[in-house]
Amino acid sequence: MAVRGVHIKIENLNHRYSAKGPVTFDRVNVEAGPGEALVVIGRSGCGKSTLLHILAGLLNPTSGTVHLDGTRVKGPSPRWVMMFQAPHLFPWMKVSQNVGIGLRFARWPEKKIRERVAEALSLVELEEHANDNVQDLSGGQQQRVALARSLVMEPELLLLDEPFSALDAFTRASLQKDVRSIAKRLGFNLMMVTHDIDEAVLMADRALVMAGAPGKIVHDLKIDLKDPREREDPEVQATRSRLMQIFHEAANSPSGGAERVVGHESVLETNPAVNL
C-alpha cells in the first residue's frame, strides 16, 4: 500500500455544542508536517474527542478551519479516517468483509478489494482470520480488524480516539508498537487521543497537552526518541517524567483549568498505567 502524509493546519478552532452551552474549546491552533505522529492528552471532558471528530469531518466546528494539504475539511473522506475506542465491527460480516467495506462503498471492483484487504490484513497480522466471524475474535484482534478497515482506505491522516483503552496491557503494548511502525512505514500522519502518558511517549513525535475551560492547547512537547521505543529505556522514562510534570502544571495552573476539575478524580490517579 502506498500512502504518504499530509500537512495539517488547524486555525483558530472554536467549538460549542449549543448556542447557550459552554465553549468546549477555543483558539486551538496546530500545525504538523507530513508523517508526524501527534498525541493529545488532557483531562476527561476537555474536548479531545470533540477535536478529533472535527478533524474527521464528522462534526462541524463553531468557527475556525482545518486544512489538510490545503483542502478544507468539511465532511468525512477516505483521506482522513477515524478509529474509535471500541471496534464497532459489523457482526453480520466476516473479517475480510468488514475490512473491505469502505472500498465497497467506493465501488471498487471485487478483485481489487480482495487484494487490498489481504494487504491490510497482513499489516495487522490477521491473515489467518480473514474468513472468521468477527464475534469469535478477541478484543485486541477486533481492534486490529478496525485498524485494517481504516488502513485499506490508505488515509493520509489516521485519527485515533483512545483506541487501546479497552485492551489488556500486553495487547495494548503490541498494538502501540504496531500502529506507530505501520504509520512510519507508510508515511501517514497520526493524531491520537489518550489518557495514558506512557502511550503518548511511546507513540508520539509531539505531545499536545490540552487543558482549561474552555480547552486550549497549553503545551506542545517534542518527543525526539529513536525507534523502536522501549518502556524501560532511560530516555523514554525521562521524557515520561517531563510530560507528567507538564501535565500536572497545566492541570494546576489557574489558566490550566484547575477550577474546573475540583472534585474530579485526577486522570493520573485513576490510570493504573501511570505510577509516580
Binding site: F90, W92, I101
Partner: protein, 279 residues
C-alpha cells in the same frame, strides 16, 4: 442457535462425545415431535369414537380421523386441495407483499424520525386495534372485486407487525455503526443497503413471521364470503354439502400449510440472525 458453525470449532479430542450428544438430542426431539402429533390424533380419534357411540350424534362421525384421511385422495385427485391452496396462496402472498412494501419503510421512519414516531403514535395505535375483519364491509364497498377486498384485509392485518418489528430492530442498532460507515465514505443509500438492512433483517423477518400468523388467521374467515375459491371457501362449501370428512380434511390442510409457512420463516430468521446465543 448457531449449530451450523459448531462442528468446525470443536477441538478434535472432544468431537466424538459432542456429536453423539447432538445426535442424542436430535433423536429425542424427533421422537417427541411425532409423539406430540400422536397424542393429538389419539384425542381426536377418541372424540370421534364418543360421537359415533352416541346415537344422537352418530351422523357426525365423519369428523373422525379415519374418514378424514380417506377424504384426502379424493380431494387431491379432483384438484380441490391444489386449487384452494393456489387461490389462498395468491391472496396471502400479495397481501403480505403489500404489507412488507408499506410496513418496512414505515418501520424505518418510525425508528429514525422522532417527529414521525410521536405524530404517528396515536393514529397507529388506534388503527392497529381495529380487528382486520371489521374492515370487510368497507373493503367490499371500496374494492371492485372480492379478491381485492381480501388482499386488502390481509395487508391491513399484516402491516403492523412488520412496521413495529422493523422499528424495534432499528432502535437496537448501534448508532456507532452509522458513524463508522459515514466515516468510511458511505452514502445514505450504502448505509441503508449495507448497514441498516443486514442489521435488522432478523427483526424484519420476525415481523413477517408474526404478520404471516395474523394474515393466515384472517385469510380463512375472509374467504367465507363472496369468493368461490380458496381454503375458507372450501370449508364453507363442505359444510353446505354436508361432507364433513372433506371439511376436517381442509381444516387439517390449513393447519399443515400454516405450520410449514411458519417453519420456513423460522428457518429464514435463523439464517439471517447474526445475534450470538448467550452462552
Amino acid at each position: 442457535m448457531n449449530n451450523a458453525a459448531a462442528p468446525t470449532v470443536v477441538p478434535v479430542a472432544s468431537k466424538a462425545p459432542e456429536s453423539s450428544r447432538v445426535l442424542k438430542s436430535l433423536g429425542r426431539r424427533t421422537f417427541n415431535w411425532f409423539a406430540g402429533l400422536g397424542i393429538l390424533f389419539s384425542l381426536w380419534w377418541f372424540g370421534a369414537y364418543l360421537i359415533r357411540a352416541n346415537p344422537a350424534t352418530r351422523h357426525f362421525a365423519d369428523f373422525g380421523p379415519i374418514p378424514t384421511f380417506q377424504a384426502f385422495p379424493e380431494l387431491w385427485s379432483d384438484g380441490t386441495i391444489q386449487n384452494a391452496i393456489t387461490a389462498s396462496g395468491y391472496r396471502l402472498g400479495l397481501g403480505l407483499l403489500i404489507a412488507i412494501a408499506i410496513g418496512v419503510p414505515i418501520g424505518i421512519l418510525l425508528g429514525r424520525s422522532r417527529t414521525f414516531r410521536e405524530l404517528s403514535n396515536s393514529p397507529f395505535q388506534l388503527l392497529r386495534m381495529i380487528s382486520p375483519l371489521s374492515w370487510e364491509p368497507i373493503a367490499v364497498i371500496v374494492f371492485v372485486t372480492w379478491n381485492q377486498a381480501i388482499v386488502f384485509l390481509i395487508a391491513v392485518a399484516a402491516v403492523w407487525p412488520v412496521a413495529f418489528s422493523t422499528a424495534a430492530g432499528l432502535a437496537k442498532v448501534d448508532p456507532a455503526w452509522f458513524k463508522v460507515s459515514r466515516n468510511l465514505g458511505a452514502k445514505p443509500w450504502h448505509t441503508l443497503k449495507q448497514i441498516i438492512f443486514p442489521a435488522i433483517a432478523f427483526d424484519i423477518l420476525t415481523g413477517i413471521r408474526l404478520a404471516l400468523g395474523v394474515a393466515w388467521i384472517v385469510l380463512v374467515p375472509a374467504e367465507f364470503l363472496g369468493v368461490t375459491s380458496g381454503l375458507g371457501y372450501s370449508i364453507e362449501d363442505a359444510r353446505e354439502t354436508l361432507s364433513y370428512n372433506h371439511l376436517t380434511a381442509m381444516v387439517l390442510v390449513i393447519g399443515i400449510i400454516g405450520y410449514m409457512l411458519d417453519s420456513a420463516c423460522a428457518l429464514a430468521i435463523k439464517r439471517y440472525s447474526w445475534h450470538r446465543a448467550s452462552n
